[in-house]
Structures are given as C-alpha cells and as structure tokens.
C-alpha cells in the first residue's frame, strides 16, 4: 500500500530531524564552560578573546557567541545557560534600575557598584574591566570638526551656541533618555532644537554614522559609541566628554560564581589581557572587524599573539 509506505517514510524522516535537532541542541557536559557574547562587533571580539585565552588552559568550552541583544544575553547568564560573557559596567544602571546614582559616571566606582550588586543579588562575578569607555558620544564630520576646531563636547557646545549649523542623527532613546543627550545638554550648557535633530526610532549607531558620513538629509553629526571602529573610517571625529556627562561603560568579563569557584584561573588569564584594552586599542580592533570585514576570531587571536598572551 503506497500511502502507508509514504507515511512510514515520512515518520522516519520526522524522527531523523527530531534527533538531529536534539543533537544540535546538545546539552553541555558536566564541567563545560559556555562562553556567550552579544550580537555585535565588540561582543564577538571580546567573546573570541575569552574563548581563545581559555582554550589552551585545558577547559572544556562551548561557544554561544553572538547569542542576541543585551537583554537576551543577560537573561541567559541569569538562567545559567551561559557561564561567561563580556558586559559593560554602566549597564548595571539598567539592570538594577538605578540610573540616577552618580557612581555610574565614574570608571572605578561604577565597576565597584555593579560588582557588589551582581555578586549579592545574582551570584555573578565581574572580572577586571578594560581601561576603556564604550559610552555614548557625539561624532561630527571631519570637515566640520576641522574648519571649526571642534574636538570636545565643550567646543561642540560653543559651536551650537554661536549658531553653527548642526544636524544630529540619533536614536529616539539617545534623544529622550535623561542619561544620554539631555545629560550632555545640561553638563555643557547647550540645547538642540527639533530642527537640529534627525531622530531615528530604534536606530543604531551604524545607521546614524552612515547618515552623517554620507550627509543624508544634511546630517553632519551622529550619535556614536566610544570604542566604535567605524567612526574614523567613515570620516567622522568622536568628541571628548571631558566633564564626564555620560555613564561609563567599561567592558569586563562576567562569570557565574559557581563556575568561577571551580576555575579561579579564569581571572588570572583574562585580567592582564583586559588591562591592555584601551579605548584606542578597541577602536582599532573593532575597525578591523567592522570596516575591513575581517573574522572576529582572527582579529582577536592576532592581537593576543602580538601581545604575547598566546604563543
């Protein structure tokens, strides 16, 4: 009977695929360390560094790099689905809903605060953060920056106050969140009108940077991240936040305490490496991935070799 035959073949195929899907899901072995990262450039760079550094230590590792956006990766480590991933100290403000606390605007105090809170409430260990700050900045076109000598937010504020032409592309979050553009405005004493803003709801820095670089809708400034590798490649200049208006986002590995207790060597391996990751270093490495299109793993490994962290 052909129909029964077809259905039994169908059943076998279905079983095969179910088995296959279970096999690819494959729950980790007892002492496997699952390394995660966010689905962005710096996430894959730092995640690959963690993987490359821990592999020669004889640890069983599983890669869950590029897992998802911040909320997903954070949920994953809280649920114990991943054991270690790179996070930013300043995001503690978001995780614990205490954006107003002044500690976040200081590199060391922010690190201490998030380390204490996460250890107490979530059993997470923050390792030493990199001496870099991947915070919100404003980047302006090089021609504007050079002809008007704008290098810092102070210069930018004066330029705006003197009636200089500016059109800033930014996400709605950047424009509205009190910690972002409003914090710049109150700290440096300037104010951008609605005509001077191009708000992209849900826009990311890739979109805003490109708008400024290509002068779309007369945009000549863009919201950006401090360690973004694309800023220089797109002919833009990131402005310095000398007065510390923004929350400090220093990248650091976060480990589940249970895993950290078993493998204390993680800290001795990762801490010296993160200590070398300055703002300029991260910008350069991120640019190799985002601008030149190199493989994040290759970029991570070649950096670690050049600094003799890997043989």
């Amino acid at each position: 009977m052909p129909l029964f035959l077809i259905y039994s073949i169908g059943a076998v195929v279905a079983l095969f695929f179910s088995a296959l899907s279970l096999a690819t899901v494959a729950w980790p072995a007892e002492d496997t360390i699952v390394v995660g990262s966010k689905i962005d450039t710096e996430g894959s760079l730092l995640g690959n560094m963690i993987l490359a550094l821990l592999e020669p230590r004889g640890l069983t590792l599983e890669s869950k790099l590029q897992l998802g956006p911040t909320n997903i990766v954070r949920a994953a480590i809280l649920a114990g689905q991943i054991d270690i991933y790179p996070e930013y100290t300043g995001n503690g403000a978001l995780f614990f809903h205490i954006e107003e606390n002044p500690a976040w605007k200081d590199w060391a105090a922010g690190d201490a605060k998030v380390t204490a809170l996460d250890r107490e409430y979530n059993g997470l260990v923050w390792l030493a953060p990199a001496p870099a700050n991947n915070t919100w900045t404003i980047a302006v076109r090089k021609d504007v920056a050079e002809s008007h000598r704008i290098t810092s937010m102070d210069d930018f504020a004066k330029y705006v106050a003197n009636g200089g032409r500016i059109k800033l592309a930014a996400s709605a979050e950047f424009v509205e969140s009190p910690a972002a553009l409003p914090a710049f405005e109150t700290t440096y004493g300037f104010r951008l009108s609605d005509e001077q803003l191009l708000t992209l709801s849900g826009g990311n820095t890739a979109a805003t940077l490109r708008a400024a670089a290509e002068g779309m809708s007369n945009v000549n400034a863009a919201m950006a991240y401090g360690t973004d590798g694309a800023v220089a490649a797109l002919g833009l200049v990131a402005l310095k936040d000398d007065k510390g208006a923004q929350i400090v986002y220093a990248p650091a590995p976060v480990v589940r305490e249970a895993v950290f207790q078993r493998h204390r060597e993680i800290a001795t391996v990762l801490d010296p490496v993160f200590a070398t990751l300055t703002l300029e270093t991260l910008q350069g490495l991120n640019a190799e991935i985002a601008v030149d299109g190199q493989d994040a793993r290759a970029v991570a490994v070649s950096y670690l070799k050049s600094r003799h962290f890997l043989p």
Binding site: I39, A75, A79, G80, L209, R210, G293, Q294
Partner: protein, 403 residues
C-alpha cells in the same frame, strides 16, 4: 462572408510594422535593458561600511562578457517578435539560462578586475542592474518552461543545469573578489553551522506542526463545531508579529524551567532553540490545519458515498479515498509552512537560536549590507529550493497514488 470580415478586422494589426508576440518576454527584456542602462552593474566602495559608487556594465565587465550579454538580450528581444512555437520556447529557455550564467560570470570577473591594485578594505558589491538582469533572466526561463508545459523531469533538469553552472562558477573562484564572498570567507567556519541550524529549526518546527496540525485538521472536519474556536485561535496567533512572539515566549518558558528544573536539562529554556521552535510551530499551525481541513472537505462526497457503497470501512475510506484525494492540498499547505518557516527562522537569531539570522542581524548592526546578504541570500535559496522540491513532489505523487 465571415472570413472576409475577420480578415478586415485583422488588417490594422498586420499594418503595424512589428507585433510583439510574447509580451511577458518583451517586458522582461525591456526591464533588464533599462536597469543595465540606468543602474550600476557592480558597486565600488572604499570599505564595507560606505555605499558603493555604481559602475555600469560596460565599464565594469570585460568587453567579451558585455558583448555576450547584449547579444543575448538582442536575440531574446527578436524572439518576442517571432511566431511562438515549441522550438522558439526551448531556444528562449536555453538563451535566458545562458544569460543568467553569463551575468553571474561577468559580475565575478568584473570584481576581480576592479580589485587589482585596490586597497584590501575596498569592496565590490553587486549592483541593481545585476540583480534586475538575474531576476529577469530567471523569470524568462520560468516563463518559457511554463509555455512549454514541460513535466517535472524537465523542470528538475533545467534547475539542475543552472544550479550546477552556478556551482562550477563558484568553485572555480569566479566570485572570490565579490564583497559577499569576502564576507563568507571571513565566516566560513561558522557558516556551515548556521546553515545547518537554520535547516534544523525549520525541519523540527515543520515536522512538529504537521504532527500536531494534521490530526487537528482531521478533527476539525469530523467535528465542525470545533472549526470556529480552533481557527479563531490560530488566526490570532498568525497576526502576532514574529519578533513579539519570540519575545513573549521568553517569560513563560523561563518560569517553566524555574518550576520544573528538569526541563532545563533537556535544553528547554526562555532563550535559544526551544522558544524559536515553539514560535515557528505556532505560526505553521494555521496553514497546516486549514489545508488539511480544506483538502478533506474538498473531496467529492459522491466518491465517498461510492466507496461506502463498495463496502469500505470508515478507516479504509479515510486512508484509501479521502487522504489520497486531499493530498495535493495537504502538500500545498506543507509548501506554505516550509517557505514561511525558512523566512521566520531568520528572526529567531534575536533570541539566541542561531541560524542564518545571525549574519543578518550582525550585518544590520554594522550596516554592512553584504553581511546581511550572506544571511538573507541562503535563506532565499533555501525557501526557493523547498518550494521547488515540494512542487515537484506534488507533480510526481498523485500519478503514483492513483490506482
């Protein structure tokens, strides 16, 4: 008398200098020609983040390829004016397929010429004219095959010839200088995993949807009072935006694993593969249930009566009469859900399920269009392949099932 009238009516048409006898092909040739004239065949960008400067076909490709493309276009344009015949349709199909492969080769070749002496970061991407040319050539092949009304074997042969031509070009390194190949090159280690994960997500969810949806569809036909509530629920599910549904599943599944920790061991958690498959199954249920019930209700009641008259039991009628007759509709449902699931599984990357969506969202984050394409193009190819294979299956099966 009537013949003279007909002649008179036809006369104005004859007095026209040319008559377009194949309007579909004519539209495709004109569309492709306009695109080639106006838009860039490839784009040249100093790095992968900025928009490329468009370069026209004749400026980018080697003279031989350009001449070949133009000649094939001219021949196809002439074919529109010729009296349709089977031979002509065969010729059009072969020439359009050749044009498609030639355009691919020309783009790859143009890229390798343009890369010579350029900075390593510079990128050559495929332009609007290329995509239009490829699409029009492919549609011309499809149209010619449709006019020929060829069987499944010939269709498989046509696709196999074009696909193997493209594979030969790819393996000989023709495309290596193109931006999308460079994206693949830096990610080839994870690409195979992502592709396999994508196929697994789709296969597991479509398999589960059929396993749940088919009995549900049969139940709806047997108990018509179930029809209202079942379709109301499934229709509502279908209207939830995919990102929202993927996101909505995180909370209940996380709660579930906290209450029943054993589930976590099985890999069921708020993020990852489990919620992705659940969401994909929920989306796939409506087409499966609807086509099952439509297929079964569509069976002529006279045939069922006749079967009953012949003394077949209810079970025999279902398996030997109703199901075979409803099978093409069920297969159409399977086609819909497969193609739909392949597209929706891209979004699953946002909840940690992996798959081709990883490249799409990484590319969107970096504004690197070619990285987006590295995720999107294989997904499109997968969808077309699934659609084509199920179409062929639908064309082959009924003849086998018929007594």
């Amino acid at each position: 008398m009537t013949s003279r009238l007909a002649l008179a009516a036809r006369r104005p048409a004859r007095s026209l200098p040319i008559t377009i006898r194949n309007q579909v092909l004519f539209t495709l040739v004109i569309g492709a020609s306009l695109a080639v004239l106006v838009a860039g065949f490839v784009g040249y960008a100093p790095n992968r983040l900025v928009s490329g400067r468009p370069i026209a076909l004749w400026a980018a490709a080697d003279p031989l390829s350009t001449a070949g493309i133009l000649a094939l276009g001219a021949i196809l344009l002439t074919a529109c004016l010729m009296t349709p015949s089977r031979t002509l349709h065969y010729v059009v199909a072969v020439l359009a397929a050749a044009l498609l492969l030639l355009a691919l080769a020309a783009a790859g070749h143009a890229a390798s010429i343009l890369t010579i002496g350029a900075k390593p970061a510079s990128r050559i991407s495929l332009g609007a004219a290329f995509w239009t040319l490829i699409a029009c050539a492919a549609l011309a092949v499809v149209d010619a095959l449709q006019r020929l009304a060829v069987g499944p074997a010939a269709r498989v042969l046509a696709v196999a010839v074009i696909a193997s031509g493209a594979v030969v070009l790819a393996t000989s390194g023709t495309f290596d200088a193109l931006s999308i190949a460079r994206e693949y090159d830096s990610r080839h280690q994870v690409f195979a995993d992502a592709l396999l994960r994508h196929v697994t997500l789709v296969a597991a969810s479509v398999g589960a949807a059929v396993a749940i949806g088919f009995p549900l569809g049969v139940a709806v036909v047997r108990n018509p009072h179930l029809q209202g509530p079942v379709f109301a629920i499934l229709n509502t599910l279908q209207t939830i935006p995919s990102i929202a549904l993927f996101g909505l599943l995180i909370v209940p599944l996380s709660l579930l694993t906290t209450v029943v920790p054993q589930l976590a061991v099985l890999g069921i958690a708020g993020i990852g593969v489990a919620p992705a498959i659940i969401a994909l199954v929920l989306y796939a249920l409506l087409p499966v249930v609807r086509n099952t019930s439509a297929g079964l209700t569509g069976v002529d009641s006279a045939i069922v009566e006749a079967a009953r008259g012949m003394g077949l039991t209810r079970r025999q009628i279902f398996w030997q009469v109703e199901l075979p007759l409803a099978f093409p509709v069920l297969l159409a449902g399977l086609r819909i859900v497969s193609v739909q699931a392949i597209g929706l599984a891209v979004v699953a990357a946002l909840i940690g399920a992996g798959g081709l969506g990883t490249f799409v969202f990484e590319g969107l984050g970096q504004y690197a269009v070619d990285l987006v394409l590295l995720g999107a193009l294989p997904a499109i190819v997968l969808a077309l392949a699934a659609d084509f294979m199920l179409q062929i299956l639908a064309a082959v099966l009924p003849s086998r099932l018929a007594p």
